[in-house]
Structure formats: structure tokens, C-alpha cells
Symmetry: C3
């Protein structure tokens, strides 16, 4: 049985959705000896999120950012948590909507993603520091 846990440190990203599959492969647990398993990714933050979506056309990322900004606007009149700036409370709501963790199946030493799937960081703050992901691999040889 495999149980391995690693901390992945992402560099700072600007607000928006960013492909991070490569960071997960380079810093996360080594998948190649895992025949069947699951990789769990957990973002230790409350104003960013993890998502899986199309990684072919970069316009998808831009449209996601634009749509979430309409659906969760800044400066809504009913926000009471405003001291950390107008981008902060929308960031918390986006994090709850999208979620801060993902579980990806492992098959024959690789993530069993569909053809068009990639892993995104949703960075919802304007000026965030780097983000941390706890990556836990379990499975069998």
C-alpha cells in the first residue's frame, strides 16, 4: 500500500484561473509506481480554489474569471466583512462555490484525467502570496 503526503508550494499568481497540473506533477507525490489509487489535493486557503476544467483554449479561463466576477460581485451592499478590501469577501464566496480540494483517480502511474481536463488554481485575491497544497497519494503498487 502507498500512503504519501507532500506539500506543494505554488508561486504567487495574479487574480484569475491558472493551470497548475505541472506543479502538481513536479512537486507532488511520485505517481509512477501506483497502479490504482487516488490523489487528493487540498488548498490550505479560504480565498482561492481548485477546479478541473478545459485546458485547451485559454479563453475558457478568462470567461470563468469574468463570469464569477458577475455572479459574485465586489462591493455588494450586504457585505459586512469589508476591512480586507473589496476583493476579499467575493474571494471567500468563490472558494466555497468552487471548493478548495480535488480528488483525482490514478491508473497505471498517471492521473486518469479526460483528454481536455487540466487542474486550475482559482486565485480570487488581487495580490495574493503563493498558495500551499497538501497532496496525499494513496493506492496500491
Amino acid at each position: 500500500m502507498i500512503w504519501e503526503q507532500k506539500l506543494i508550494e505554488l508561486p504567487p499568481y495574479p487574480r484569475g484561473f491558472h493551470p497548475i497540473t505541472n506543479h502538481i506533477l513536479s512537486q507532488g507525490p511520485d505517481l509512477k509506481n501506483c497502479e490504482v489509487g487516488l490523489l487528493h489535493l487540498f488548498l490550505q486557503h479560504t480565498s482561492a480554489s481548485l477546479a478541473i476544467n478545459e485546458n485547451a483554449d485559454p479563453d475558457v479561463r478568462g470567461d470563468l474569471e469574468r463570469h464569477f466576477n458577475v455572479m459574485v460581485p465586489e462591493n455588494a451592499p450586504y457585505y459586512a466583512h469589508t476591512t480586507e478590501g473589496p476583493d476579499d469577501m467575493p474571494a471567500h464566496i468563490k472558494s466555497v462555490l468552487i471548493g478548495a480540494s480535488l480528488t483525482v483517480p490514478i491508473s497505471n502511474g498517471q492521473m486518469a484525467l479526460g483528454t481536455w481536463q487540466g487542474i486550475y488554481l482559482g486565485e480570487h485575491r488581487d495580490h495574493a502570496d503563493g498558495r500551499r497544497i497538501v497532496a496525499t497519494l494513496q493506492g496500491r503498487w
Copy 2:
């Protein structure tokens, strides 16, 4: 220890929310010998989603579809990813909002769903082909 992975192939569905619990039970890993475990379901697509919700009144499924169409409209003026049709970019956004994977606890050989819970496919394209789910069961006898 149990580690088993199967590919579930769903037939094509029209746009909307559809109960798929029976497909998971018939094509997925055999649960009956698993005393305690987890079943992970991973949809390998970026324009559909997996959700758990009420499976008693079919009106719930219709209302979900109608509400998501209001919350994530077609033809928003800020969409740049438009070449695959007006239903495509909303489908990607709905997939990010609802998510493409689920984890369900297994107790005494069965999914430990609540009384009213069923598993749905959210099909967000107008004319999609069948969808694939990677189902991974782990647990103990």
C-alpha cells in the same frame, strides 16, 4: 484491503439533470463485500458534472436545470470562448460550479446515502455523446 477501479460508460443524455445511481451500481465496482470504504466517481469531461440531490420529485431536477440556466446564461456578452456553440461556455462554468467528482461512503456493502439522496449526472451540453466515469472503490472486507 480492496482497491478496484472500473470505467462506467453512460449513454447519451439530453441537457438536464439525470439520476444515474443505477448505472453506478450495475457497471461500477462490486460493493457487497466492502464493510467500510469509499467509492470515488470521476467524470472525465469538462462540460458535465456529478451531483448528489433529492431523487424523489422529478421537479427538483427540472428546477435545478432552470435555475442554473439563469445563473449561468448563454450568450453572455463577456464570453470569448464561443466557437463551440452557445451552450459550451456555460457548460464549462456549470462543471466548475457543481464539480466533476463525488466521494460516497460505503457501509456494510452499500452506499451510505441518506434517504432522499441519489446521484445525478448534470449534462450541460445540448447534444453530447455518452460520458465516462472512472469509479474507484477502496476499503476493507
Copy 3:
């Protein structure tokens, strides 16, 4: 290997978002001997949800409740599932949006939450009874 499953019974909560990390620690599986693992939490209900978010400023919880009530309003003209009261169909939609389960990594006998992260129940009904969570711990000593 550790495989342990417990039922957590939450007391009734009023509509809104409520920190429940303490209930999980007191009623859930004992984490202290788990060096590396995952804790899976599964809410057996279709009109409430589980989320991770900031647990420092209570205003965040109020803002979440207020925003979700705007994004998923009561009495939308297209709701057909209305017999259980105006709060019921929005509750189902919120449950699909936020999700009814969470997976949290375990490191050295503790949940590896970020500094500001706590676990919330999103109670979306006006007058709900207590809610049940199936908590499954797996990992290695």
C-alpha cells in the same frame, strides 16, 4: 492501516452557516494515531451542505448566507417543486452548488487545515432537524 467510520449527529441549527469543526473532532473518528490519512465527511441530506472557509470573522458567515440568498432566491417564477415551502427548492440548489461532502488531509494526528480554515455546516432550511454526517477515516499509523 486505519479504516474507521462514525456517525456524527449535529444538533438542529437555524438557517445560515455554522462552524462545526468541534463536533467533528468530538464525535468523529479519533485522529491522534493517524500519521498520514484522509478524513471524509458526508452529509446525508439534500438541503444542507458542508464547506470549508474562514472561521475568524463571524461576518464572513453572514455574508455567505446573504449572498447565497441573492444568487439562489426564494419564489423564483420557474420553480415547480414548491410544496415543501419557499425555502426548500433554494436549499436543494445550494446543496448542489456547495456540495454535501468534504475530504480533509490528516497529518501527524491532526486535520491539516490552513490557519484560517474551519468546517461549516450550511443549513439551508428555515426549521431543520439535526443533521447526520458519516465520517470515514482512513490512513496509516
